[in-house]
């Protein structure tokens, strides 16, 4: 195990996991969803809005609003502000920045929040305006949505490493089992392997149950120092380590690994734990194939062994490798940028012991990862964080 040269996140804690239950379509705005999340944060933490002196926001659908516009909108007066447009990596990136801010006392209580609405046409509009490379070189090919781009990655990965659809399906099926225990999951029907395999093709080899359902919702948490949490009487989890990487392995002709593989040693070294020590893992599951990649890149198995790893483990809440315990984006829904937060917020609940019906017994060490921004032919942003609950 390598040693980390980075300053530890001593004294940094995360508290008040908030999920505003998702809906498929919403006539409300992103600002409405973000406002609800802030309101829930304040209520759960027992603080006043004026106690929040740092704000970190992620959203695809805020229109012309910036973070600073939101401060006036919500009556917040903050001395630290960030807006993180990193898609599925936004939660990890936001957490990293907020952690250093409270550690350095640039702020005392940072509200990290992500929320998006989903009007009937807003997903398509988001796709159309996603990025310049996407606009120039992907969207004109009918690959609207990441489906076709990930289909190419999935096909190459599956062929290269001998992965079957059944291997990939096991991830989705397990997550659906988890989701059935989460009252807020949008997917409420059980999913069998037969159903998974028989699903309608979207963009070969991606089929219907490989895809997330775009929806509206919001997620949030608070980042503060441990003494602040103690003074508020707030249960909180310690931040042990994080990594973040963008545009890694640019010379790989096709994506078979994410930026995690570049920094995974650092992740565990800084936390002082081994992969085996983790009680729960929350990966970024925009497609189950990406989750399989993360099992490899986050050190649970070697490259090319992801399928075997999945075959050998039970990924459900009660299994030997509890994974995406809320059901993940695949079964809960993808509420835009809030999708980045979903795993981290659920992981926080797990180590705080407040996950309720999806609670893994005695969970105290969690890993959450993020992955985002398929700008052209691959996801560019990756990140991960390890949290420890009060019992550890």
């Amino acid at each position: 195990m390598t040693n980390s040269l980075r300053a530890p996140y001593d004294g940094v804690v995360i508290a008040a996991p908030v999920t505003i239950p998702y809906v498929r379509y919403s006539i409300e705005s992103a600002q409405w969803w973000i406002g609800r999340a802030l309101n829930a944060l304040v209520a759960q933490a027992g603080i006043k809005a004026s106690d929040i002196d740092g704000l970190c926001v992620s959203s695809f659908t805020m229109g012309t609003d910036s973070g600073v516009g939101l401060t006036q909108h919500f009556g917040l007066c903050v001395r630290w502000l960030d807006t993180i447009p990193l898609g599925g990596a936004s939660a990890i990136a936001g957490l990293r920045k907020a952690a250093r801010a409270v550690q350095a006392r640039d702020a005392d209580i940072v509200a990290c929040v992500a929320g998006d609405t989903n009007h009937v046409d807003s997903f398509r509009l988001t796709l159309e305006n996603f990025s310049r490379f996407n606009q120039d070189a992907v969207y004109p090919y009918g690959a609207g949505g990441a489906n076709s781009s990930f289909a190419l990655i999935a096909r190459n990965y599956m062929r290269t490493f001998g992965v079957t659809r059944e291997d990939v399906g096991k991830i989705a099926v397990a997550q659906r089992a988890n989701a059935l225990r989460n009252p807020h999951a949008l997917m409420k029907a059980p999913l069998t392997m037969e159903q998974y395999l028989a699903a309608r093709p979207i963009s070969d080899p991606i089929h219907l149950f490989d895809c997330v359902m775009p929806c509206a919702g919001a997620e949030a948490f608070l980042v503060m120092r441990d003494e602040t949490a103690a003074s508020l009487g707030l249960p909180a989890a310690r931040l042990l380590s994080t990594i973040e990487r963008h545009n890694a392995f640019a010379d790989d002709p096709m994506q078979v690994r994410g930026g995690w593989a570049m920094d995974v040693g650092e992740l565990y070294a800084m936390a002082g734990v081994k992969p085996d020590d983790l009680d729960i893992v929350q990966t970024y599951d925009d497609y189950p194939i990406i989750t399989m990649m993360q099992f490899e890149d986050l050190g649970f198995c070697r490259k090319g062994e992801g399928a075997a790893f999945v075959r050998q483990h039970d990924l459900t809440i009660d299994g030997d490798f509890p994974h995406n315990t809320s059901g993940g984006q695949l079964s809960v829904g993808q509420a835009g940028a809030a999708g980045a937060y979903l795993g981290l917020v659920e992981g926080l609940r797990q180590v705080l012991g407040t996950a309720g019906t999806t609670q893994v017994r005695n969970a105290s060490l969690a890993l959450a990862s993020g992955f985002g921004m398929i700008n052209y032919d691959r996801g560019l942003a990756s990140g991960a964080a390890i949290l420890a609950g009060p019992s550890r």
């Binding site: 606009q135 009918g142 690959a143 190419l152």
Partner: protein, 413 residues
């Protein structure tokens, strides 16, 4: 292997004609380097002047060395198809209507990876040959072809979306009195056009070559004086709904410029024939063509103008003629914009002096009418937007790009 397309049956009049949809159109300004290349059938990529590496998609700085000197250059077309996928339920209306639609990721021998539309005969793991094509929104897209020839190659469903192949289409050649018009008729017929309507103005005037047109299977002589509003409208009322490709072979060449050709009556004829004729044709045939851009195998697909290259730079010996051509060139861009929602291409074919009577005293090289006709067909089959036919046209273009003032002075001879 591609199955050959079948001759379309007659339309079922009970079915609504599907209106054209356009694939996504937005592009960055830099990305229009590809549009320029595609318009002429070239394959160009950005290559860094500083370090020599190729880049894709369009960039403002080299990802290898951050140099901003990234000109578009002709690039090697060969690549390897790394992976393919078939989109079955795309969110975009255009693609959803045409699903399943195959795309793939191509690793170019020269470096970059390119998301591309796939010809049906492309095989994963095998070499491909890339082209840039103008899609139905008129924007450049990358298209991967199998490396070698395959049977019925141009009948590929996805490729045919990029082209205006005359096969099974119905063509109106607006002026059959000229040699160019007659050669165009023959070439289009040979390229598989179902019907070629041939416009003849003043049918009471006999003309050379008339026998070659009359009584031929699939060739219909129709009365059309493009310069006459009513004549164009009347013909459109008869066949406007069947014109899939319009080839504007209007030809009115007269020598002379300003000071030594008295009055305006010849200039007026030039404007009447070339420019107002263009307007009449556009107004008579354009709206139906725009509406029929997605009308099956024989959807409307292209408008072809044959223009003098002196539309780009005035040749004083034929100064008024050059001006009339410049007017047509300018308006062709307007037509292109207005036909664009229908996915109908406007192809401008630039020629130098043609080997016809009106350029009798001009020394060679001159363009053979047959070469123009063949260029029309090859341009339609490749889905081009700009063509320069013959050495003079190509040279004028290059000289114009090099130094417009030098060209202006040198044309004054």
């Amino acid at each position: 292997m591609i199955d050959p397309i079948k001759p379309p049956r007659r339309k079922n009049p009970l079915l609504r004609t599907r209106l054209p949809a356009s694939p996504p159109r937005a592009r960055s300004r830099t990305s229009h380097g590809f549009t320029r290349a595609a318009a002429e059938g070239r394959f160009m990529l950005q290559r860094c002047d500083a370090c020599g590496s190729f880049a894709y998609p369009a960039r403002e700085a080299c990802p290898s060395c951050l140099s901003s000197d990234l000109p578009f250059v002709d690039a090697p077309r060969r690549g390897l198809l790394l992976a393919e996928t078939t989109a079955r339920v795309p969110s975009d209306v255009y693609f959803r209507e045409r699903a399943p639609w195959r795309i793939g990721l191509v690793k170019m021998d020269c470096g970059p990876t390119i998301v591309a539309h796939l010809h049906g005969d492309c095989v994963e793991g095998a070499a491909v040959r890339m082209s840039l094509q103008l899609d139905k929104s008129g924007q450049a897209v990358a298209f991967a072809h199998p490396e070698g020839e395959t049977p019925n190659m141009s009948d590929d469903k996805q490729y045919r979306e990029m082209t205006a192949d005359p096969k099974f289409r119905r063509v109106l050649v607006t002026n059959g009195r000229t040699v160019i018009g007659q050669e165009a008729v023959a070439a289009l017929k040979a390229a598989g056009a179902k019907t070629v309507f041939v416009g003849v103005a003043e049918p009471w005037r006999p003309f050379a070559g008339e026998n070659l047109l009359r009584g031929q299977d699939g060739i219909e002589i129709v009365t059309l004086d493009a310069a006459d509003e009513k004549s164009a409208t009347d013909l459109a009322a008869d066949v406007g709904g069947k014109v899939d490709i319009l080839v504007n072979t209007t030809e009115y060449v007269r020598p002379g410029g300003l000071l030594d050709r008295r009055g305006t009556s010849i200039a007026r004829d030039e404007i009447d024939q070339a420019y107002l004729g263009f307007i009449n044709l556009a107004q008579a045939f354009g709206p139906a063509m725009r509406m029929r851009g997605a009308d099956g195998i024989n959807s409307s697909s292209a408008w072809v103008n044959i223009l003098s290259v002196y539309a780009l730079a005035n040749w004083p010996a034929f100064g008024a003629y050059s001006a009339s051509q410049a007017a047509c060139l300018s308006f062709s861009h307007c037509l292109r914009a207005e036909l664009r929602p229908g996915g109908v291409k406007v192809m401008n074919l630039f020629t130098g002096p043609v080997d016809t009577e009106w350029f009798q005293t001009v020394p060679p090289p001159k363009v053979a009418p047959r070469a123009i006709a063949q260029a029309i067909v090859s341009g339609l089959k490749a889905g081009l937007e700009e063509m320069y036919v013959g050495d003079v046209a190509e040279e004028i273009r290059q000289r114009l790009a090099a130094n417009p003032k030098a060209l202006e002075r040198e044309l004054d001879r």
